[in-house]
Amino acid sequence: MKALVTLFIVLAATPVFPSGNQQKDKRDLVYEEALRNYKNQNYFTALDSVAKMYRFETPDQNTQNFLQKLVLKTGTHYFNTYSDLELRKINIPTTDLIMAKRNLYLDKFRYVHKRLKRVPVGNRLYPESLMVKASAYYFDEDYDKAVEYFNKCAAEANKRKNESENKIKIYFSVIEESCIIDVARLRFKQGEFEKAIRRYEDVPKTSIKWPYILLEKAWAYYYLGNYNRSLGLLITYNSPLLESYFMPEAEVLKALNYYQLCLYPDALSVVNRFYDIYKPKSAQLKKLIKSQNSELYFFDLMFKPISESEKEHNFLRNLITQVSKRVKYSLDLNSLYAVNSEIFQNHKDANIEKLLKTQKDLKEQINHYVKVSMHKFINETHKLSEDMFNLKLEILAKQRDLVYKQESLKAGRERGDEKNVERKEYQEFWTFKNAFWADELGDYSFGLESSCKVNGRRR
């Protein structure tokens, strides 16, 4: 009994939590060890140990700077699984940006601004933070502020782009162009289509974003009633250079343009092509994707030679090309290569267990990302086939009305004329001779005459 009481007293006297000094010593030890790991290029191991230490308390400025340095090497993937509370404690621009984005997706705009206030101007993430901030203003319907910040974002990204090299340069280019495009989208939403088109034209043809904005620009021309120009933009996707950018929505818009010009047979041929070629292909792709049992099928697909993936399905090749050009994919791939090289290095201090787990996480993340992109494409095709069906009914109804009224449409079947092309003063006219020249891409216009004037006479 006496021994038991003594043991109890000893246990009670031992502090359950380490004292302040002990904790500080532990922190110093972890920091020193992490610094050593950083010097030995064990970046992921270093980040894990420091971030774990400060999961529930804010690190001092020195450690914050060190964390920021580590994130530049590892990427932001590590913090993706952190809760908001944990992110707030870490208190570095990276975590602030992650939190701001989460709040943006939840429409909590006030918190977006609160988080982004802390990203310093000199930080590499500053242009991206401006893009998120401007988007928050946009969704909050404060359009003047949104334009101001989108323009600021484009200017900051441009400045940094000119000072950077290689992949970082591409990252800043994408941000700059995205901010320019977002202003155009804002004008589009406001119904100022001319202004939107002018802003879209600020994106260079060499940009990786350029193929996507052709469709948006074509919508702007469609709403301006310039169907010939809209069709000309959409025909750009037929050029061999843009073969990988097949977009089902472009087909619907093409048919809509013909419909508005009352060229019903042309509209019907686009609709029928969609049903005969694209929809069955999309269904085949769905079947192919569903039949795969491998856990990392989509990840592996990204590394298959194009000739092989094309054999499986030609849409696969297109989608792989599109996904591989996205910044997110490049950043995740960079992180994966960094983990792989750390594993390969096999340093005695490296936390191999953690590294293998991170490697698996990254592969799963890329796999998921590619999978989502492909399913999105299939779903979009499926949804748009409904729109095509509605359009087909509408075309058939118009044709039936003409028969009932014993009327015929004005124009014959002879094709376009230069006089039907609306041109700006600075635009020149060249005839198309079945060849796509890179510098002409995106500047095409059809010269079709509207057939909407009725020619027939009622008896």
């Binding site: 969704f139 989208r185 509408e394």
Partner: protein
């Protein structure tokens, strides 16, 4: 003479002032024999068949519209990291 004229005026103005109650009566039943009616004129018939056009009901289908690119703005942010 003056008194005589006044008297004449009084006598002739009396039926104008006095309102006579007039009762109108309509026939309660009247029969027309259309076969027995004779109408003078010439018969004009249309040369061909004509049907009065009925206004057809128009069903407006929802064609694809693009009001904004909000989804793309979010997508661009998500595609960054």
């Amino acid at each position: 003479m003056r008194y005589f004229l006044i008297l004449l005026l009084i006598i002739f103005s009396t039926p104008v002032i006095a309102k006579k109650k007039v009762i109108y009566k309509y026939k309660e039943y009247e029969k027309f024999d259309l076969g027995d009616l004779e109408i003078k004129g010439s018969i004009v018939a249309p040369g061909d068949l004509s049907v009065k056009e009925r206004r057809r009901k128009k069903f407006e289908r929802n064609l694809l519209q693009k009001k904004d690119f909000d989804e793309k703005i979010i997508q661009d942010i998500k595609f960054l990291r």
